[in-house]
Amino acid sequence: MIEVDVAIIGGGPAGLASAMKACEEGVKDILIIERGMELGGILLQCIHDGFGTFIFEETLTGPEYAQRYIDEVKKTGINVKLNTMVLEIDSAKRIIAVNQEDGLLEIEAKAIILSMGCRERTRAQILIPGDRPSGIYTAGVAQRYINIEGVIPGKKVVILGSGDIGMIMARRFTLEGAKVEGVYEVMSNPGGLTRNVVQCVEDYEIPLHLSHTITNIRGRRRVEGVTVAKVDSEMRPIKDTERFVPCDTVILSVGLIPENELSKSADVGMDPITNGPIVDEQMQTSVPGIFACGNVVHVHDLVDDVSKVAEVAGRGAAEYIDGKLKKRRSPIKVKAGRNVKYVVPQIIHGEKFDEDIRFYLRVKEIEKSVKTVVLADGERIFEKKIKIVKPPEMVKLDISPDILNRITGDELIIDVEGEEDEEKS
């Protein structure tokens, strides 16, 4: 049995930033466990730029961004185990992991930070009918093949889903000399950041078909083509708009799911909407001493946010070990209100707040000229105008202690109010 102060599961940007913060806060014995060959997580395959605009105020590629943290970690006494897969965690904070050199590892930690990232939704989860030939990949897997393994999955590509990774892969395939027949998006708006629509799709004259989906995949050994169709307002395919598009590859960019088998094995309480653990303002889960940050909690669009929130978790773990963590008194539930899909953190604690809390929310629908409103006991304690909110772009609200300390009751509701609502009220 190995004993450590803080064990960090996953060495992506979330794991790295939380380790650095815990170290800064004086934690001695920190261990990062990473199943990959290197630290850096998903960033290692994101060779495009656009990372770090907030934190470093420059645009870096994924590997460059990760390297900045890796270099810092190397300067400290933080221990790292690579090529090591965590198999199980229990609520007593015992970890079972395995690698080739050490064999089976049994680790006991005073605190754990979950930072396992996310995985991609698959073809079956969105119920695309048809054959099951070779040539169907999720966008992240295709990205790995091209950028890390050095092989190209196909020559004639149809992409389903205009999430960021889908659009980035549209560009990547084009740059590799493959023909991208089109990006098809079931919603009436692109699923990814505007900058990616412009830089990855429009600049390369790749057709973007909104309100479209794939209704069938065809091919015996290898994909031979797909049937695409327009969808109606309820996202049902319209039969007579169906058309066959020959291609040899289908790339799916249809959503990410936080990777939480380990959280579940540790009996951590889960949020059915985010598919991640329920966390408080210090990123602590329902199991005392187990923290979580990054894409394992909810899917972030920007790595900068991941690094930032990971520091909150790192500090929380340090304080937990020192016994300095705020006493868990009178939990206040934070609820998603009008046009809000979810809010993280889902819970805040404390009689007295002494610093800002940042709330992350994802809206359900695109809406212009809105106000985000925080309601406590029916009272509007906070309001902020926003020009436009879109589902792909996370909304961040920093709320100051003097506002937080006005909260009465045990529930906060966060609404996004449209113009008409305002007129009515």
Binding site: R35, N83, M85, L87, I96, V98, N99, Q100, E101, D102, G103, L104, E106, R119, E120, T122, R123, A124, Q125, L127, P129, G130, D131, R132, P133, S134, G135, T138, G140, V141, R144, Y145, I146, I148, E149, G150, V151, I152, P153, G154, K155, E176, G177, A178, T215, N216, R218, R220, R221, R222, D248, E259, E261
Partner: protein
């Protein structure tokens, strides 16, 4: 045509004309009816086939009627690169040639590997278990679902009893979880329910139907137990309110169909059988009414005994020999698999009894695989194309209805779906016979469900047939029935895991996040007696890619290990054989092509 045959043809012609198909040509020989012509719809072809099968005096139906409207082309693209990963060189002659490496072919191979015989099994795909055998529910049925008196039922009941021993010998998991046949408020047809007073229909459901099922079981020697409502709720707390009573069939079991097939193949190889993959039989050589050998796309093998276990293609292989007495019309069945997270939700396999029972389907149900993944289905759809394994949107909806027994089941936990083709004949029974016209040719055809459950008994029956038609079968003393399995890392205890990694550090490298499969297992699978040479072949042996992420994480790793172990470039790795390559080239290669 003899007099009797003429009479049959006349009678059948009348029926078929009456149905509105005057252009179908009919001939009969020794009770075998041949139908030719063209109609509009595939469903009409099927109707005509059944009309013929139900005509008195008809022993077999060869239905070559075609339909004007065929949605998909029936031909497979020919892939030329046959000899990529040949595992064996083709012998010049053999005592017995088996065509087809499904569970039936492999079971027969293993069964006759007990004797001093040179046996060769030929499989056109890159692995065994690539046909119906990989795409089924894996249920070892008890036989209660089959019509009384059929060969299917007889062999099913017998085969079921043989499972424990063979699975122990082959080291493959087998569990007898039992099946609950559930009688619900929807068991009786709506028409009947409408006219009967509720207390009567209730009495029928509660008392009469269970009794009828029970009697049928008793007659066939299938143990059954009636289950009252309270007990039913105790056994299955999540079951629908519409459940009235149940009948429990405790001998129902479950296996991994491909795992047992691979194990049979490996054990057969251990005992001297040659299995040639990527080898398609193109003709059967016959001289003077006797089998002389087979012609394959890789050469000829002389042999006086040929066993046709070609599944959905068994009619075509029989035709090659001139020994066709049946037609196979593919009946597609799709199955949905859910996350093993849902395991605790169901304790037994469940099947809702809906009357009248469709004699052509086994009726979908709710099953649980050995790994604990619930699976629903299959449905049953007649298709004209023997390669059509697509799952349609309508089918997904139909299968979701199978789950009406569990109204609150979380359907979003779905992880994948697939379809298989049942090799149905119009007679709707197994067709296991030595040909009377072509000596040495044995048809093992029409093996639709419960073919898996019946397979041990089928193999035994075929062994008997071979002996009857003159094959000399001297017992081999050195026959070894035991097959060692690939260690399953995820199933081991902590100490066993430690020991295994010490022996071979590759078992310390977990490459599949969902099922915790290690590199050691993958490498082992690639170097077994029957080598896994494709991503899917590895998957069938060690479960990489069978979990919730469906290969997203392990795919790149498995591809790399395959390339390394087979000593081929990554671009040549395939999903499931020639033509299913994963990649089109190295990065920059397309740009070079353009330039």
């Amino acid at each position: 045509m003899g007099g009797r045959d003429q009479k049959i043809a006349k009678k059948l012609e009348k029926k078929i004309v009456k149905k509105g198909f005057p252009d179908v040509k009919i001939s009969a020989e020794e009770g075998i009816v041949r139908l030719n012509g063209r109609v509009n719809l595939w469903s009409e072809v099927i109707t005509i086939g059944y009309l013929a099968a139900k005509t008195k005096g008809v022993k077999g139906v060869i239905n070559d009627v075609t339909a004007g409207e065929i949605e998909r082309k029936g031909e497979e693209k020919k892939v030329t690169k046959r000899d990529v990963y040949d595992n064996v060189s083709l012998p010049k002659r053999a005592d017995v040639v088996i065509v087809g490496g499904g569970v039936i072919g492999c079971f027969i191979a293993r069964e006759i590997s007990r004797y001093k015989l040179d046996v060769v099994l030929l499989e056109k795909e890159s692995d065994v278990a690539c046909g119906a055998t990989k795409a089924n529910s894996g249920m070892v049925h008890s036989g209660i679902g089959e019509s009384s008196g059929t060969l299917k039922q007889k062999l099913n009941v017998k085969g079921n009893k043989m499972y424990d021993k063979v699975c122990e010998e082959l080291n493959v998991p087998f569990e007898r979880d039992g099946l609950l046949i559930v009688i619900t408020t929807e068991t009786l047809p709506p028409k009947v329910r409408k006219v009967l007073p509720p207390f009567i229909s209730n009495f029928i459901c509660e008392k009469i139907i269970p009794y009828v099922v029970f009697r049928k079981g008793k007659k066939a020697g299938i143990p059954l137990r009636p289950v009252k409502r309270e007990e039913l709720l105790e056994m299955e707390p999540n079951i629908t309110d519409k459940a009235i009573v149940g009948v429990y069939s405790p001998t129902y079991g479950v296996v991994y169909p491909y795992e047992i097939t691979i194990a049979l193949a490996e054990n057969a190889i251990q005992n001297g059988v040659k299995i040639a993959l990527n080898t398609e039989v193109e003709d059967i050589l016959v001289e003077d009414g006797k089998v002389k050998g087979v012609l394959t796309d890789r050469g000829t093998i002389e042999s006086e005994y040929v066993i046709n276990a070609a599944g959905i293609f068994a009619d075509e292989v029989a035709e090659m020999a001139g020994a066709r007495e049946f037609s196979i019309h593919p009946r597609k069945g799709s199955i949905i698999i859910f996350d093993k997270e849902m395991k605790g939700y169901i304790n037994h396999s469940l099947s809702e009894l809906i009357l009248p029972q469709d004699p052509h389907t086994k009726g979908g149900g709710i099953f649980t695989t050995i790994s604990g993944n619930p699976n629903w289905g299959p449905d049953a759809i007649e298709v004209s194309d023997k390669y059509d394994k697509s799952v349609t949107a309508e089918e997904i909806d139909t299968i979701f209805e199978c789950g009406s027994l569990l109204p609150d089941f979380q359907k979003s936990s779905l992880i994948t779906y697939f379809a298989g083709l049942r090799a149905a004949t119009y007679e709707e029974d197994f067709f296991i016979k030595a040909s009377e016209n072509v000596l040495g040719f044995v048809n093992v055809a029409g093996i639709q469900s419960p073919g898996l459950a019946a397979s041990p008994a089928i193999a035994e029956m075929v062994r008997g047939i071979l002996r009857e038609i003159g094959l000399k079968m001297g017992e081999k003393e050195e026959f070894n029935p035991i097959r060692r399995a690939i260690p399953k890392f995820s199933k081991l205890g902590i100490e066993e895991k430690k020991k295994l990694i010490k022996e071979n550090p590759l078992y310390g490298n977990v490459i599949c996040r969902c099922e915790h499969v290690t590199e050691g297992e993958v490498v082992d699978a690639i170097h077994r007696p029957l080598p896994a040479t494709t991503v899917d072949a590895v998957k069938r042996r060690v479960r990489t890619g069978m979990g919730r992420c469906q290969g997203g994480f392990c795919g790149p790793k498995v591809a790399r290990i395959l390339a390394r172990e087979l000593n081929i470039p990554l671009e040549e790795v395939t999903k499931d054989g020639p033509g299913s390559n994963l990649f089109v080239g190295k990065t920059k290669s397309l740009l070079a092509e353009e330039a």
